[in-house]
Assembly symmetry: C2
Homo-oligomer: 329 residues x 2
Amino acid sequence: MKYQAIKLVRRPVGDITSDIFERVELETPALKDGEFLVRQTHMSLDPAMRTWLQDNEDSYIEPVRPGDIMRAYGIGDVVESRNPAYPEGARVVGVTGWAEYTLGGEDMQVVDRSVDIGALMSVLYVPGLTAYVGLIKVGRPVSGETMVVTGAAGSVGSLVGQMGKAEGLRVIGVAGSEEKCRWLEEELGFDKALNYKDPDLGEQLAAATPDGIDLYFENTGGPIQKLAFDRMNRLGRMVVCGNIAEYNNDVPTPGPSWVDINLKALRVEGFVITDHYDKAEESTLAMMGYLQKGQIKFRSHVLTGLDSAIEGVQLLFSGQNQGKLYVEL
Amino acid sequence: MKYQAIKLVRRPVGDITSDIFERVELETPALKDGEFLVRQTHMSLDPAMRTWLQDNEDSYIEPVRPGDIMRAYGIGDVVESRNPAYPEGARVVGVTGWAEYTLGGEDMQVVDRSVDIGALMSVLYVPGLTAYVGLIKVGRPVSGETMVVTGAAGSVGSLVGQMGKAEGLRVIGVAGSEEKCRWLEEELGFDKALNYKDPDLGEQLAAATPDGIDLYFENTGGPIQKLAFDRMNRLGRMVVCGNIAEYNNDVPTPGPSWVDINLKALRVEGFVITDHYDKAEESTLAMMGYLQKGQIKFRSHVLTGLDSAIEGVQLLFSGQNQGKLYVEL
């Protein structure tokens, strides 16, 4: 059976552009014992993709190399199987690729077909595990604290902010448009949302955090990082989940001096979810709990057709996606 | 009874200079119930003193203000007491000041008179608690890992490196002279010592850490910070104990970009011992254990007379002290 897939043909220089990808036609393989074939139905587009394209062998995950099919997380149906753990007709989630079909792997998880696809993509799967590990395990929030989250209207940031409210924090979101800020304040219940493009961001941040900042959740990088750093309280935690503003820079912007990390006893800690797959079940239960109590709302930005990924992934870096970005195949 | 003390008269601009201090004569007070009078016998000089002099109300400890007696940690004898927990003749350690006498506080600890003063000052008290908390509690070393420690010939760094060896680490020390490097390698058993003044420090560090760095213990700041950062392994820890190279700068040098903190899942964590006094007993036991097994050697740099502190404290910032610096009164 023939199917469409998208390969990386060269690494990006600066921004991701369409010409680094190429559409190819492939044929599904004959299955060996233990293998199964997945027809992908929904494919997630995530900021981490930019880091997968870098020629960085030190990174947490193997880079996608020119000639490889572009990597993705996705949802699909098992259409043929020689593995009893993944029977024909099962719905699975896991690492797929920019392709209509993919050979399933043992790291795929079977999920219940009754779960809403939007909730699965936007709350329970990649963004949910990321938000759960980052906020709860790394950030260790304490009720009454003040949290600032950047990329607050993004797939992870919007969850982190709402979970923070559910955990009793005062939550300030930082986003890139007035529309996003309104959504955060009026729909998601953030205490305050700031537009990082406003020239007086520093003054606005100071006014919004009169008691300083205890927990900073970094999704973006950019000038807000230093502004927030300077307002951190003693024993504060800074969770480094992403730095999307830096991914297209060849020479990343320096971070704040470490003097205050010492004097204020701060903890600046990064994480990547590939180290935390063992917490997937715990995370799903926690996220289902927030959903059932009505503590989490989400919005999805859905594209259609495999090809839409090529231009679509760029929305993540221009900040034009509204909600969790994914492709329906 | 009259006694000598040294006051801060103005904050330093850049380096500490003698003219920011002034000698004064004071009179010991009459004791109220619960009070006790301590004649200081040994006074510790520590790099942290530079940060106490800064006009930084956000710091972990109240700044010393012009007009105040300069703060110190010290050892002394109770010479008069109206507090049964601190009887006359007891030896105590705690926060004293640059003064021959001081009113004791409830935060002082009585210590056994049989303990060697050099060991108490150099291994068991301030540097020991700092090294113990920083390496064991914050750094969480795992046998077989590679550690780089800066300020390695200093009071804290020399303990951290030797404790690292005792815990099964490969230990690379960074210090500021050939003599110090020889001492680290030949006397203290460091696997390698590097002189940060060598122009090819980066190449030397790379050669000394062929498997990368798992644990970085920062006492100094300076260019070594970024060189080490770039060699950190995934899930590495960077313990920020001090930044002595930065204390005399008005505008501290920026730190490394946070992109790799995310991609390598690094933890950069600062600490100050005032948050960890509750671990003093645990720390003393652990440090006594290392001493008894012959795993820790120390050297003390002893000055004489209260006045010697004024010039003596500057040795810490020029790197000219050889071992733990303290004053015998």
